[in-house]
Every structure is written in structure tokens, then in C-alpha cells.
């Protein structure tokens, strides 16, 4: 009897664990892991995506074609461009605004609410709104530029301005999200630290540069991480506004994949693009977590717990 109890207890524990985990495992393997594996499988076939499984094995031909494709190489370059612009312009803007709204300025609750509002709108709504605002013929933006005597721009219709226009829309929609992260990070910094620096005679800028900024490190690194992942998967905005045009000048990896997978029925080739996206995300995430965020994870989560 005495020897039986622990074992039956253990068995019951095991069945409990299994039963509780089962739904999550089924859903995750069926709809997250299996599709990714299927993408790997399909990427080495020439396949039009019709019913059944692919049969025309082509080895790595899809990948060699991909690496020689100017559109795809352009996708990589444009992704990099968006990342650079985000990190160099959008995130500093978010950080600056967050620091301003951390001070006691009049109406800061309102500003915070307003700046974050675009984040809750879908990219579809944002896209359509800005198609009208940045319309070359009767858009609001050209009207306002007219006040300053600036010639109207073609925005999304001109290959040389289309990426800038996309970036403006991304900034409009997402800078408030990063601002919210920075505000939360800033509130996690104990007041004693900045006060001590002030008592020691540090001026506003010096306090920011030598106390606040270093302590915001974890938040900044997360915010950069999310920007990069966002740029890698950018789809909705571009698909609705330009479809990747004019002449591929705003195409992203996700748009190229979608074009080949759902419009041209080259599913094998499109799967190869998915696989490359998977690896770029994976390598980036591993690298970033290993070398950039390594020291952060523990400290950051304790900051968070304090805030609750």
C-alpha cells in the first residue's frame, strides 16, 4: 500500500500534465510547426500548389534562383533600408517624445492617448487613409506642401519616393507603440538615481545621457528587436497601397512570397522565400538574444514585476 501511493500519485500527475498540455500541443504542432515543416518540404519542389503533395523534386534550384533574382535581392535591401530608417529616425523620435511626456507638461495624458491611438488601427485602415492623404493629385500632403511653395510629390507612385512614403506611414502607425515601451521603461527607473545625479550637479542633458539612457538599454534593445522583426514581415501596408509597385520598387519579402504563392501559383518557389524568411528571423533572433540582449533578460523582468 505504502509503496503504491507515490507511484499512482506520480501517474496521476503525469496524466494531468498531459491532459492540460494536449490542446496547446495539438494547436501548436498542427498550425505552427507543421506549416513551417511543410514550407521546408515544398521549397525543394517545383509545384503549382494544386491538391496533393508536390512530386517534381528540384533540389535547391528554387534557392539558387532566389539568390539570383533581382527582385528578391531588392527585397532584402529594402528591408534593410526600413530597419535603418526605423532605428535612425523612428525610434529616436519615440524616445524623445517619451522623455518629454514623462515630464509634467500640460495635457500629457491626452498626447499619450493620441500618439498611441494609430497602433490600434489595422494596417488596412491606415493604408487606405494614407492612400488618400498621399494621393499625387488631390491629397492633403501635397496641399500642405503647397503652403511652403514645395512642388507636389508623387509619393507612392514614384519609385524614388515610394519607400520614404511607406516609412512615413509606418512611423505614423508605430512610433506611439515604441513611445509606450519607452515610457514604461522610464517609469521603471528609480527616481533616486536621476535625483542623485541632479544633486551632483548634472544638467538635464547629462542626466539623460549618463543615467536615463544607459538604464533604458534593455527597453531600447527590445524596441530595436521588434522593429527588425516588423520590417522582415511587413506586408499589409505595402500590399494594399502599392502591391509592391511601381515596378517592384516597394516590394518586401512577404509581398514577393505572396505574389508567387497566391497569384502566380509557383508555390515551391514561394515556399523557398518563406524558408529564407524563417531563417533570417531565426538567425537574427538567436544572434540578437545571444549577443545583444544577453544581460538584459533578468534585469528587465524584475523591472516589470515592480511595475505591476
Amino acid at each position: 500500500m505504502k509503496t503504491m501511493r507515490p507511484r499512482s500519485h506520480k501517474l496521476r500527475g503525469f496524466t494531468t500534465i498531459l491532459l492540460f498540455l494536449l490542446p496547446a500541443l495539438v494547436l501548436f504542432f498542427g498550425l505552427v510547426v507543421a506549416p513551417i515543416l511543410l514550407a521546408f518540404y515544398a521549397s525543394v519542389f517545383k509545384w503549382n500548389g494544386m491538391r496533393g503533395l508536390p512530386t517534381d523534386f528540384v533540389g535547391l534550384a528554387n534557392f539558387t534562383r532566389l539568390l539570383a533574382d533581382e527582385v528578391f535581392l531588392g527585397d532584402l535591401w529594402r528591408g534593410l533600408l526600413l530597419i535603418i530608417l526605423s532605428v535612425a529616425i523612428q525610434l529616436p523620435l519615440s524616445l524623445g517624445i517619451a522623455m518629454l511626456l514623462n515630464q509634467k507638461i500640460r495635457g500629457r495624458a491626452f498626447f499619450r492617448l493620441l500618439f498611441f491611438a494609430p497602433y490600434v488601427l489595422s494596417e488596412a485602415i491606415t493604408a487606405v487613409l494614407f492612400m488618400m492623404i498621399l494621393s499625387p493629385t488631390e491629397g492633403l500632403a501635397n496641399y500642405i506642401l503647397g503652403w511652403f511653395g514645395i512642388d507636389p510629390l508623387d509619393w507612392f507612385a514614384d519609385p524614388s519616393t515610394v519607400m520614404m512614403s511607406v516609412f512615413i506611414v509606418m512611423t505614423w502607425k508605430y512610433f506611439g507603440f515604441h513611445m509606450i515601451l519607452y515610457i514604461a521603461g522610464r517609469q521603471g527607473i528609480p527616481r533616486e538615481l536621476t535625483e542623485a545625479a541632479q544633486i551632483d550637479g548634472a544638467t538635464g542633458w547629462k542626466v539623460f545621457r549618463y543615467v536615463t539612457l544607459p538604464l533604458l538599454g534593455p527597453t531600447i534593445r527590445i524596441s530595436v528587436f521588434l522593429s527588425v522583426i516588423g520590417a522582415i514581415q511587413l506586408f499589409d501596408l505595402v500590399w494594399i497601397i502599392t502591391g509592391g509597385g511601381p515596378s517592384h520598387s516597394s516590394e518586401t519579402m512577404a509581398v514577393t512570397m505572396f505574389q508567387f504563392g497566391f497569384k502566380r501559383f509557383q508555390v515551391g518557389y514561394a515556399s523557398a522565400i518563406s524558408v529564407v524568411m524563417f531563417f533570417i528571423s531565426l538567425v537574427f533572433a538567436l544572434f540578437y538574444q545571444r549577443y545583444v540582449m544577453r544581460r538584459d533578460l533578468e534585469g528587465a523582468s524584475t523591472v516589470l514585476r515592480d511595475q505591476r
Binding site: 491538391r51 498626447f111 514581415q233 516589470l304
Partner: protein, 285 residues
Amino acid sequence: MSANRHKHSPTSGGPLRSLSLHAVVVITALFVGIPLLYGVLGGFKTTRQLSSNPLGLPDPWVPENYTSVLGSASFWRMLWNSTYIAVATTLVVVAVSALAAYVFARFAFRGREALFTMFAAGLMFPFAVAILPLFVLLRMFGLLDNPLGVILPQAAFGMPMTIIILRGFFRAIPGEIEEAAILDGCTPFGFFWRILLPMAKPAVATVSVLAVVNSWNQFMLPLVVFSDDSLFTIPLGVQQFQGQYATDISRVMAYIVVAMLPALGFYAVAERQLVSGLTAGAVKG
């Protein structure tokens, strides 16, 4: 706050500096606010008015664009589809993730951390990576043109974030409470259902709000799953309407403004949960 103490320093305090700081905030507010205002007012104009007078108040005010959206059956149907899909997604993802998070937080077994890491790794993989094979699988299961074809994948992709947040919260609940419940004859499920979940209400609210917003704004998945437009959600409807009436700008504007309202209303109500969810997710992510 340091304005008085550091009058001598040119870089801190001073009315000039505070004025320029305000200017930066106000300019940013214009950058964010004008597009929204332009949309709202634009909906009250005719398209001809809009091109001659883009920024001013409508003259005369034309409510027809708005009333025609509010009077169209297809708009209400899309609103219903979006709502139904968002609620169902949230129920599935929260239920499934809460069970899993409970196990990850309160049971010790071999392979637990590896399994948890696997779920957490799902966070790194955007929908875009899996959409094509997902489409193939959904077609195999016969889930195309079926709300489940959107609900289940959304729930699956929402699980990593939900499990991470809930596990953190479940862990913080003291072990003594569980021991007391077990001594009183509570089963593991009884403890989960009657004690853990009610105690974790704020965390459940947070993850639910995240799930609703993500589902509400999802575009790519419904785009490939639904070809029958009676199943369309709002983002698809917006795109379709824009395509149909591209030249009638003020009408499109009224449409997207009305389409924004549910999301903005939800934001007004659930702002706190949304912010805490996003910051929690980001910091843990």
C-alpha cells in the same frame, strides 16, 4: 521639476526651453492628429469639396456618406464577422494557453523548459512565414471559407505570447495557496478553475485584450482564407470598398472612419490592459 533648482544652467529649465519642448509635442500631435481629422471631416464633404477645400470645415456638411455606410447591411455583417472571430479566437487562445501556462508554472517534469522554450520560440515567427503552407493545410482540412480557418491559426500563433504572460503571473501566486487547496481536496483542475483563474483576472484581461486587437486587425490570414465576401472581416471590407469606390474619396473616407470606431472605442475602454500587455510582452519577448 528641476526648473527652479537649476536656473543657472542654460540647458535645463527656462521658459524658452519649455516652449520648444511643447512645440515638438504639438508638431507631433499635428502629424498624428491631422490625418485622423482629415478623415473625419472628409467624410462629411463631397469629393469635389474635398479637393477644393481639404482641410477646412465642410460647407455644407454632407452626412450622406456616413449614413450610407451605417445603412449598408454588408458593413454590419463585416462588423459581426470581425467581432465573432475576435471573440472566438480570444476564447480559444486564452483557454488553451492558460491550461498550458498552469502546467509550465506549477508542475515540475522532465523536458518542461525545453517544451516551454519551443512555445516561446513561436514568438519569433511571423504569420508571413507560415501563411502559404498554412493555406495548403487549411485547404486539406476543408477549412477555407470557414471562420474556423481564421480562428484556429490565429489562436495557435497567439499562444506563445499568451503562455509567456500567463505563466509569469501564475508563478507569482504563492505555493501555500495551492497546498491549502489540495489539502481541502481540490483537484488540479479544480484549483486551476476555481482559484488560479479568478486570482489571475488582471493577467487574463491583459492577454484577452491583446488577442482581440490582434484578431481584429489581422489582414493576411482572412485574405487567403475567405473568398466569399459574406465572410469578410473589416480589414478585408476596407480594402474591397477602396477598390470599388477609389474615385469617390469622401465616401471611402466615411467608410474607414466608421470602420475605425470600434477599434478606437475598444482602445478607450481597454487602454490599460493593452499597454500592460504590450509592455509585458515586449519586455519578456
